[in-house]
Amino acid sequence: MNAFQIVPAGDAAFVVEFEARIDPSVNARAIQLADALQAARVPGVLDVVPTFRSVAIYFDPLRTNGDVLLARIEAEAAKPSSDRGTGRPAVRVPVCYGGELGPDLAAVAAFSHLSEAEVITAHTARIYRAFMVGFVPGFAYLGTVEERIAMPRRDTPRVRVPVGSVGIAGVQTGIYPMETPGGWQLVGRTPLKPFDPDRAEPFLITAGDAVQFYAIDHDRFLDIERQSRATAVAIGVRPGSDPEVRSRRRERCADSATVLPVRGGFLVPPKPRRGDGGREAILP
């Protein structure tokens, strides 16, 4: 259970690899190690990056004794995993499902042979795990969604996906933190911003967090959006600097549904589909 190996990545990084599978307990080990190394503030360490099943430790080789750092990492990695969790409360994310804000909700409903309301129920019922944050600032890989609604990506990615769009890609779900091209099935949109460098806490979701979506109607969506803008003004940041904040929104959300129990089970999420690397790799 404690199996790990440490491999160098060039002369300025070590990677601690746990078991090669996507699993909450393996992921928890990686995040626990990353948190411990972050907290230790080891001199010369520049960045600690937990992913699904590994932790990368970036350091300045001129200001770090590699052997000492390696011993430190080994000692931390060998510690038994604790089931304490992160100690952070679950992140609750309001989503206006369907309509123009969730243009693929109907497609997901057709795919899953469910009504739109049932898709919303299925998507909001689970508490998801944020396995890692990567690709673009603040993009958290959440999993796993109920198998029935685990619709694959669109054949043709959209050129522009608005900020806050909530998508499904197989058993993964996530929120687009910035306007990018993207191929996920968009079921709704949150008025919260997953990433805002002007906010006191710029990131909505941290790796290891529990995340749950809840359905809101369109009026509530606009309310929350207005509030978050007002908050931004109150703390002295640039108001209205965000192109996605637009006043003219006539679209309506699908009716929110009551929460129904869903069955458990855990699937290995497919990796984000990419082209042959390089620029396409940005598409989550």
Binding site: R21, Y58, V133, F195, P197, A281
Partner: protein, 314 residues
Amino acid sequence: MSGVRVIKGGMLTTIQDTGRWGYQSRGVPVAGPMDPVSHRLANALVGNERGAATLEVTLLGPELEFEDERVVAVTGAEFDITLDGRPVPLGTSFLVAAESHLRFGQRRRGSRAYLAIRGGVSVPPVLGSRSTHVISAMGGLAGRPLRTGDRITLGVADAARPTVTPPADPLVELPSRPARLRVLPGPQADAFTSDALAALQSAPYTVGQQSDRMGFRLEGPRLTHSRGADIISDATPLGVLQVPASGQPILLMADRQTTGGYPKIATVISADMAVAGQLGPGDTIAFSMCTPREAMAALIAQERALMVLEMGRQ
């Protein structure tokens, strides 16, 4: 605060400091200079701290108008540069009078030049850094390259920091043909066939047209995976060679994403990243394996040369 007016932005002129470290766990790319040694040298020449923001100039340079008198230096790629029409030297500091125009002309060698201005470029830092990351529209001037009509503000020079004498020998070898880059195997060399590391060193690779600050797509000997071209996504260090299903490696550079899902066969050593940062489409690279000891010795030699220069301020 005095500043610089952008008459022409050039092809891709961005504000860069030493990068946005500490946020990769949040998905925030590091960015920073492609050629960190030339960036640091330029700052030293004008008496800036090493972390001051400079302008990284790519292939086609900008034209700039200075509002006040400043000491500046250009390092890295060789361009014909004129100040109000008169040629100025590279790799050393010189004075720019108020209202004068600094213009980058023909490029001779290398891909990226660094213009350091005494006092530094002083845009507001984002997450602790002024570095521009264009894809996430972060840092620099509104997260984008400079363009006509922009104005960038400059910091106040630290009077206690004099300019320094340029080094006798170049600190960054501008790419010869092919550029030699030393690599260490891993982190996933075992995801390739046993002859893949030999293949990597067997013939030069050409930097493809689709190459930018994120990474260089390389064309050359095919590297064969031993168990598929997918791994569970993990972190992507600077200088790593990730290999998608095509078998053609991609060298990840300053603007790389924080994570990726392709196996990584080898990693360019830190000391050679400055040379890598001077490459552009059409340039060629000869990779050669080295040992961790060689990598460290090369980095120490590079650091010593820079420190001698920085401490030799008189």
